[in-house]
């Protein structure tokens, strides 16, 4: 085969031009800049996702975010493009939070959180206060869910990941994901009404 060589067209190329998948490929090759760019692009979403999922304090979340990206770098070669990189990072974050919770017994503490924190005796006097109170009660109810239900609810309902993509990321059947969302809804609703 032979072909003419096309001229080089100069552009100010940066890592910002790279797709997420290309960044991951570069991460797999040990490119620190790519890891930095991946962090810059996704840290906000990963931080928010971990905060919703684990409801840990800020210092713990920092550690979990960092561990998630380190794991992503080390696992970059395993990315097969079956989900978006963002969802793939969420999958790593789920495992990171799960491991951390297991090691510290956080699940037990989270499970006891609802009972440990009685609903506020303060009655909402206006709509804004009532809304804040509702959000706080939702947080408590979410923390009281089992980890599998909480993960599916946060991933699909709060982060907008589709059922098939969540199933791929979590290694579940799609039907299982939908059922967990359904169960999570029922338990959240029941917990909210019982507070």
């Amino acid at each position: 085969m032979s072909a003419r060589v096309l001229p080089l067209r100069r552009v100010d190329g940066t890592t910002a031009e790279l797709s997420d998948a290309a960044l991951l490929a570069a991460c797999a090759a040990g490119d620190g800049a790519a890891l930095g760019a991946l962090f810059d692009r996704h840290h906000a979403a990963v931080y928010r996702f971990i905060a919703r999922l684990s409801q840990s304090d800020a210092a713990d979340i920092d550690d979990l975010v960092q561990t998630t990206f380190l794991t992503a770098q080390r696992s970059a070669r395993k990315y097969q493009g079956r989900s978006t990189v963002r969802t793939w990072l969420f999958g790593i974050a789920v495992n990171t939070v799960r491991r951390e919770a297991r090691s510290r017994g956080r699940r037990q503490r989270l499970a006891g959180l609802v009972a440990a924190q009685p609903a506020s005796a303060v009655r909402a006097v206006d709509e804004a206060v009532a809304q804040r109170e509702a959000v706080r009660r939702f947080q408590d109810a979410l923390a009281g869910l089992s980890e599998p239900l909480r993960t599916c609810f946060v991933l699909c309902q709060l982060e907008g990941v589709s059922g098939p993509e969540a199933a791929q990321t979590l290694g579940l059947r799609v039907g299982t994901v939908y059922r967990r969302i359904h169960d999570a809804r029922k338990r959240l609703q029941a917990a909210m009404e019982g507070m």
């Binding site: 100069r10 190329g13 790279l18 040990g30 490119d31 930095g36 962090f39 840290h43 380190l70 969302i181």
Partner: protein, 410 residues
């Protein structure tokens, strides 16, 4: 209210975008309608959970720790120069992702220094690559920050006068005249420097480490140009040689590169490993591969790059070829930085010897076009022993272009 078994089906329809089916079912099923509303309400509450992003300073702290802790994949331990190159690239990535809006909050003097200033969300950053700059920062309000950054360190101030010297992208010396600065080096504890204190890189931190060429985040100090056009000999290389000057200002002694375009006289031929044709329906990989080649022939190199990339991710006999043509398409689309990153990763992945040489020559021209003469020379030398004459000729032409350029510099 009795639970409808159809509720999970509603979730499936939602993912499939079947809004009409959902509405039809909800109209007939009060149980699902109530559950659907409840799910929406709960989701709305969840979206209101406090999830404000951490402060920029906190994010940077995590980022710095992350990059300090990041290692090469265990399967392939990177040599030290990779870490140095990565550190330099970190500077590039960080610098390049900041928007260009500039709102100076400090006085900076450094006529011969190689630096750039960027501003974002209350943080003004000076990316210093080479030379010495003296800075005077007025006392900053609480919501503003001023940071000087090299590839391997950053220095933060609140209100002070100080001088920073960098060499080859790395921090060399910091001298504080007034006030206080915090020096944060990747992988090291933060050092606070008061007035009349200074910090200097020790003997174990050579001021100019031997590192592979990496893209400069700031204006290149030189942009060599071959004085004679190299023959278009590579069969698949996306680049031949530099054809236009860098956009940023260059020193007076910078050689000029005359823009030049080489128009292909005939369409690009299909690769030797073109997708096989048979009576059986083509596999998804074959379809993507063929789509890539259709796009190449149409001159749609971005589209070609995407198609080859998709083909490379799929399992099948064309994955290796698709990866190669993905890189070639990237180059022809003009995405130099992406091409350079992809080529580097490709070379590390242990490609076949024939493609390795060709990739080296491509990388050589990319490096030469952006002033990385030594790196270009290494790449061309690596490609000079190619078994294919056309690739060898490309490498030879590259080495000759470098020799010519160096002769002119003397």
């Amino acid at each position: 209210m009795r639970e409808c078994p159809q509720f999970t089906t509603l979730l499936r329809w939602r993912d499939a975008g079947e809004a009409e089916q959902i509405e039809a079912h909800l109209a007939d099923c009060p149980g699902c309608a109530q559950a659907w509303t409840s799910l929406a309400d709960l989701t709305a509450l969840g979206m209101q959970m406090p999830s404000a992003p951490p402060a920029p300073r906190q994010i940077e702290s995590v980022r710095t720790q992350l990059l300090a802790n990041a290692n090469a994949p265990p399967a392939r331990r990177a040599p030290p120069w990779i870490a140095i190159a990565a550190a330099l690239l970190v500077g590039l990535a960080t610098w390049s992702l900041w928007p260009t809006e500039r709102r100076p909050i400090a006085s900076i003097s450094g006529a011969t220094a190689d630096y750039a200033v960027r501003y974002e969300a209350g943080v003004e950053r000076v990316a210093l690559r080479d030379g010495s700059i003296s800075i005077e920062v007025a006392h900053l309000p609480a919501d503003q920050r001023f940071v000087v950054q090299t590839a391997d360190a950053e220095i933060e101030v609140r209100g002070t006068r100080f001088t920073v010297i960098a060499d080859g992208g790395r921090l060399h010396r910091v001298e504080v005249t007034e006030g206080r600065v915090e020096l944060r080096r990747s992988g090291h504890a933060t050092v606070a420097l008061e007035a009349d204190q200074s910090w200097q890189a020790g003997p174990t931190q050579p001021a100019r480490p031997v590192a592979p060429a990496t893209p400069s985040p700031i204006a290149p100090t030189m942009t060599p140009a071959p004085t004679t056009p190299a023959p278009a000999t590579l069969s698949s290389a996306p680049v031949q040689q530099p054809t236009s000057v860098a956009k940023r200002p260059q020193p007076a002694d910078t050689p000029r590169v005359q823009p030049k375009r080489v128009t292909p006289k005939r369409p690009i031929a299909a690769p030797e490993t073109a997708a096989p044709t048979s009576a059986a329906p083509p596999s998804p990989q074959t379809e993507q591969f063929e789509a890539g080649w259709r796009a190449v022939r149409a001159g749609e190199f971005d589209e070609a790059s995407a198609a080859f990339s998709a083909a490379a991710r799929l399992r099948g006999p064309l994955a290796a070829d698709a990866r190669w043509w993905h890189i070639v398409s990237l180059g022809r689309a003009g995405h130099d930085a992406q091409t350079r990153v992809a080529l580097t990763a490709y070379l590390k992945s242990g490609p076949p010897a024939s493609r390795r040489a060709e990739a080296q020559v491509m990388l050589g021209w990319l490096n030469f076009s952006t002033g990385r003469v030594d790196a270009a020379e290494r790449a061309f030398k690596a490609g000079a022993n190619a078994t294919r004459a056309k690739v060898r000729n490309g490498a030879t032409a590259g080495l000759k272009a470098i020799a010519d350029w160096r002769a002119k510099q003397r």
